[in-house]
Chain length 694, copies 2
């Protein structure tokens, strides 16, 4: 059901294996680099922070920041910024909602929005926001459920079951959303409890032309001039929620070299993936994904250029795809650098040499071989994959699978169908967000053609799927024939344990039924592979802990982490790049590009230009260790005052999935001052600003 | 050396295997469809024409049309339209030259051009135009050179040698460019003699906005409104060439249902490729090519959006790539239609059943197995391919290979280095056309990254090529370090049998030397595969001739062919599509799209709108059997008067590589009347029009 995440890495892509954990891994410099790390809130690097920056976070400091942080389940991070439920995130994180509430008549994504009163705030159709309330270590209980004699398939089932049990118990006893998170690639399991907000309304968004000034051309470039921000409000019982922990806004500008903190939900890193796993990414998986991404990009471009309304309908998907293409191209370039891979190989060899000396650890070397074998198997599985993930097909698949899964006890189901996740699942399934059948048809037609390429035109399942028609003709028949765009029809089919599905003649339901056995077979094999990987990475974790110490952070898992760093420019092609830009600078930058799109400011900015303080800091860079999913993360100073919002990494940082390197890599933020200045001087949002000052 | 061809199929792509030959192949209808066929000028379907259309071309009729037809070696077709050397082709065929003669100050591609006097006509840097003078059957001599005991590798060498001998003898005795052409996939060999024109000058081109009105969005769509035409002039001894055979312009409009003829150079068809060969195209080759094409399209888009000058530099390549992407997508969609493939399978099975009954032919069935085996081998070879075809790398490779090849007798060299082809080769090698190092670097960087993906990052040759650097860093070093953009440097390196190359420290020369052994190994295997294919298709040809008769045409080979058909609309989604559009209609069509690019007419058209006769036919469709390479072909009536110029096929015709189907497939032309009307009324080209009327 999940739609493409908006962030610059699709943090929640469900097929992604989260593995590895982080160290100073380039092998070029000492173990842990100055500001490296995406730290657990229950295991902050206090000594490290004190040593490097003379600062020690107190438990109260950490609790306040944790509870003021917000996760967008559509993909991204955010923060509470008032006691009255205001939530600040990126425009590109909110874009999913801006797109869903827009119509041919009102394009909130393009034109922006500012609610004059509470009553004007627009409800998002399917947003779920999470506030992390507590973290509990449940490693021993999860590990105890898996015994040495189990096959990987059995172990995966057993582990899934115990995790579902723990989550169910927690949810029943606390009422909180409860997720067991796999950390250190399988070395630790923590239970995260979240307060959920599902009544979320749009308060303010700027025009796309300033939120994404410079467009795809400037994406991941710096210096930048983007007001990539928007504001929502969470409601409870139809009233603005009362928020205890929220961030106050700093009243001063940032200093060069100032220490700042980032609290957000980085999606995925692979910092201690083995060399075999990295080579699989380099030679197989990333090239495969990029081919698919470019294909979708061209497809959406072709659809968009047919009319302005087509462009509007496809815009959000197109941005997501272009973003993803740039990120993964950068990641692949990092892996294709022979120096990077040589350093990884040397570091791995050194670790293997060390454990070979140790009778206790010697046996762990097998873990590397296991992972190499599993990469080989993954490479074989890739072309067999069945991906028909249009919105409507995903609705069909969810309905079909839910009916099957619900006949089992919760703990035995596929993970997304467990009881504790049901509310979130149904919110997506019954989302009233618009579905555009013309766009759905074009995408499904291409996915069917892609399936034909991957499995070969003679594949028997493919031939059943196509039913004697060409991919595009079949897609037309399926999409034009389905009623799944009608939410009430979905509700009817889901009612009574899905008994209506048996005899349902909806063509997409029938397609989902046709595909499900093969799809499940692949899913089960994938689950077994991931289980074996977890066990192998747990072994590697033990070896690393034993030889290099335990003071480190796990790889990113789209859960809340603390990063830190300093505001700092860098050097590029021999030129110094300044730590921040100013509001005044955006007008010069527009001139430099002759005010041609995507370097054309909205009329509002020219109209109110004279009111703005041109020296106000606009975008800035810092050395904090971030990745996709951090988009929208609050940036705070030592006093926990809001100083900015993360929205990007620079182009040099794109390979940071695999390594941290603060020589040129930078996190890019929009400054809190610029947001506030624009709210007051350009958007006349005095009502909102008044709430910030309360 | 050859740059990307501009046509809608890259007809001259040197790695393309030309195979198969044409019949009514859908299996759905009788053997030869009404207006099917791309006929040899020395074997015209006179009976067929008489039966269907009551017309018999005389030898004089055919000779006149043949000699009035022109081939652009950059890819495309054309015609002589005056005794004073004027040549009419498509704007998109001339675009390669328009691009090469443009500068940041004068963008002839975008802005158009009209030479007021002879002296203002602009010389093309490297065009070669061919006028076909005669055709001679040399089948027996070519076939005699290959004996049954030769291995495919030996046979390929022997066949190459005898073809080079024949060409050399012909060139020496006649002075004409002489090419032995392989027809019917190896069933026949004909010697084509051409008069060559290498002093070619631009006379007139319209603005790109009207030549390609509707841009990529409307490419291959119909109804259309494109003035896709431009005019060159050939010179001899610095004076306009005197042309005996040229086409006079029709003075009347076209009638619905009127018989027309198309004389041009279709690039490639695969109408009787075996089912195994088609499945290889469907499941392997076309998906592979499309991934590469989309990758290049995105790359060029990214390069272009950085500045208007970047856009200008990449524009021509980008058009070629987008065009190619649309064509191949359409081809693949045709092959992915289960009904199409089932019909092909049935037709093939029927033929196999027939020959199984015949003791003389029974053994020929092995040919189908041979071809199936060769497809398998091609699929294995694809990822090993080394393609670094930037302009500068191709210069380097040509220099390196020429030095090696020239140590052998002409007949033993790789085919493109034979003596008879030398003049054309050197014209390309020493072309003064501009080379943009920034664009070269971006493309080479991506090709190196692609090579890394294809061969895997651990490939030893790849590692030698990268020399420890990332693909992009290595490309920067190579392109910034080379001097091959200096034509005099190329000449120096080519002088004295390339002895300077031995010690040359130019990094691209060194790279070409490094790659050459592996590159040759692959080339030799490819040549052997193609030889085996030729022998197998020759067997299949015999079987078909024996069972179905000989009155047919060979698959396209980028040599001159005659097609014919009637001016005729068609039905699409239940709507009738008219046979032609009018000049007046383009203004309505512009309004329909709110005059937003690419639907924005040039200022000249609005300025002179009132002068135009709005009823003038603009674009029209006919049922003639064309394919990429036919772009620019003259369309004539029975009286050999010019009525139009082919510039496109409609979207339904894209799978016509594999089949002819006149229900919806149409060739799209710009009418001669519209060109003349625009020349007079909009471009004030009275000088040119006066020449047409002489």
């Amino acid at each position: 059901m999940k739609r493409t995440a908006r962030m610059w890495v699709r943090a929640m892509a469900t097929t992604v294996v989260v593995f590895g954990f982080g160290f100073g891994v380039t092998g070029l410099r000492p173990a842990l680099l100055a500001d490296e790390g995406m730290w657990l809130f229950n295991d902050l690097p206090t000594d490290h922070l004190q040593t490097k920056h003379g600062f020690t976070p107190t438990p109260a400091w950490a609790e306040h920041l944790m509870k003021a942080s917000v996760r967008f389940n559509s993909g991204g991070s955010a923060s509470f910024i008032s006691s009255t439920g205001l939530v600040l995130t990126n425009h590109h994180v909110g874009a999913d909602t801006l797109y869903k509430i827009s119509t041919p008549e009102h394009n909130y994504y393009r034109d922006g929005f500012c609610a004059p009163t509470y009553a004007d705030e627009i409800k998002a159709p399917d947003l779920e926001l999470n506030q992390l309330m507590s973290i509990e270590d449940v490693t021993s209980r999860v590990k105890a459920a898996v015994t040495a004699t189990m096959s990987p398939g059995e172990a995966a089932v057993a582990r899934r079951a115990v995790m579902a049990e723990i989550e169910k118990e927690s949810q029943d006893s606390t009422g909180f959303r409860s997720d067991v998170v796999t950390l250190y690639g399988g070395g630790r399991y923590h239970l995260y409890r979240y307060k959920k907000y599902t009544d979320v309304r749009l308060v303010w968004a700027p025009e796309a032309d300033i939120a994404f000034f410079g467009g795809d051309a400037d994406n991941f470039e710096y210096p930048r001039y983007d007001l990539d921000a928007c504001i929502f409000r969470v409601y409870e019982d139809d009233r603005p929620a009362q928020i205890e922990h929220f961030l106050k806004w700093s009243e001063r500008g940032l200093q060069d070299g100032e220490l700042v903190f980032v609290s957000g939900n980085p999606g995925r890193t692979s910092r201690l993936a083995t060399v075999a796993a990295l080579k699989y990414q380099r030679d197989v998986r990333l090239p495969y994904l990029l081919n698919f991404i470019r294909r979708r990009e061209i497809l959406l471009q072709q659809f968009s250029q047919r009319s302005p309304e087509n462009e509007r309908r496809a815009h959000d998907d197109l941005f997501g795809v272009q973003n993803s293409r740039k990120v993964r191209t950068g990641m692949l370039q990092g892996l294709q650098d022979p120096q990077f891979m040589a350093a990884k190989e040397a570091a791995e060899q050194k670790l293997l040499d060390t454990i070979a000396q140790d009778p206790q650890l010697r046996g762990h070397a097998q873990a590397w071989e296991t992972i190499a074998r599993l990469q080989q198997r993954q490479a074989e599985l890739i072309p067999q994959g069945i991906s028909l993930n249009t919105t409507l097909f995903q609705v069909a698949q969810t309905l079909v699978r839910m009916a099957i899964e619900d006949q089992k006890p919760s703990a035995q189901r596929l993970r997304e169908y467990r009881d504790s996740a049901r509310e979130s699942l149904l919110q997506q399934l019954f989302s009233p967000a618009p579905v555009y059948k013309d766009l759905e048809q074009v995408i499904l037609g291409d996915l069917l053609a892609f399936l034909a390429e991957q499995r070969g035109g003679d594949d028997p399942l493919l031939q059943q799927i196509l039913a004697g028609k060409s991919p595009r003709a079949r897609a037309a028949e399926l999409v034009q024939g389905t009623r799944l765009d009608d939410v009430q029809f979905r509700r009817d089919l889901a009612a009574n344990g899905g008994t209506l599905l048996e005899s349902c003649d909806d063509p997409l339901i029938q397609l989902a039924q046709l595909i499900d056995p093969e799809s499940r077979r692949l899913r089960e094999e994938q689950d077994a592979i991931e289980e074996e990987e977890r066990q192998a990475y747990a072994q590697i974790a033990e070896a690393v802990f034993a030889t290099q110490g335990t003071s480190t952070y796990p790889d990113a898992t789209f859960t809340l982490r603390l990063a830190f760093g300093v505001v700092k420019g860098y050097e590029q092609d021999g030129q110094p790049i300044p730590p921040w830009t100013t509001l005044g600078g955006v007008f010069d930058y527009e001139q430099l590009h002759a005010a041609t799109p995507p370097w054309k400011l909205p009329a509002s900015w020219h109209r109110h230009r004279d009111r703005l303080d041109p020296e106000t800091q606009f975008n800035f860079v810092c050395t904090a260790d971030i990745i996709g999913g951090n988009s929208g993360s609050p940036v705070v100073n030592r006093e926990l005052e809001l100083v900015g919002v993360i929205f990007d990494g620079n182009i040099q940082s794109l390979p940071s999935d695999y390594r941290y390197d603060d020589r040129q890599d930078r996190a890019v933020s929009v400054s809190a001052q610029a947001i506030r200045e624009a709210l007051q001087k350009i958007y006349g949002a005095d009502r909102i600003v008044a709430e910030l000052d309360q």
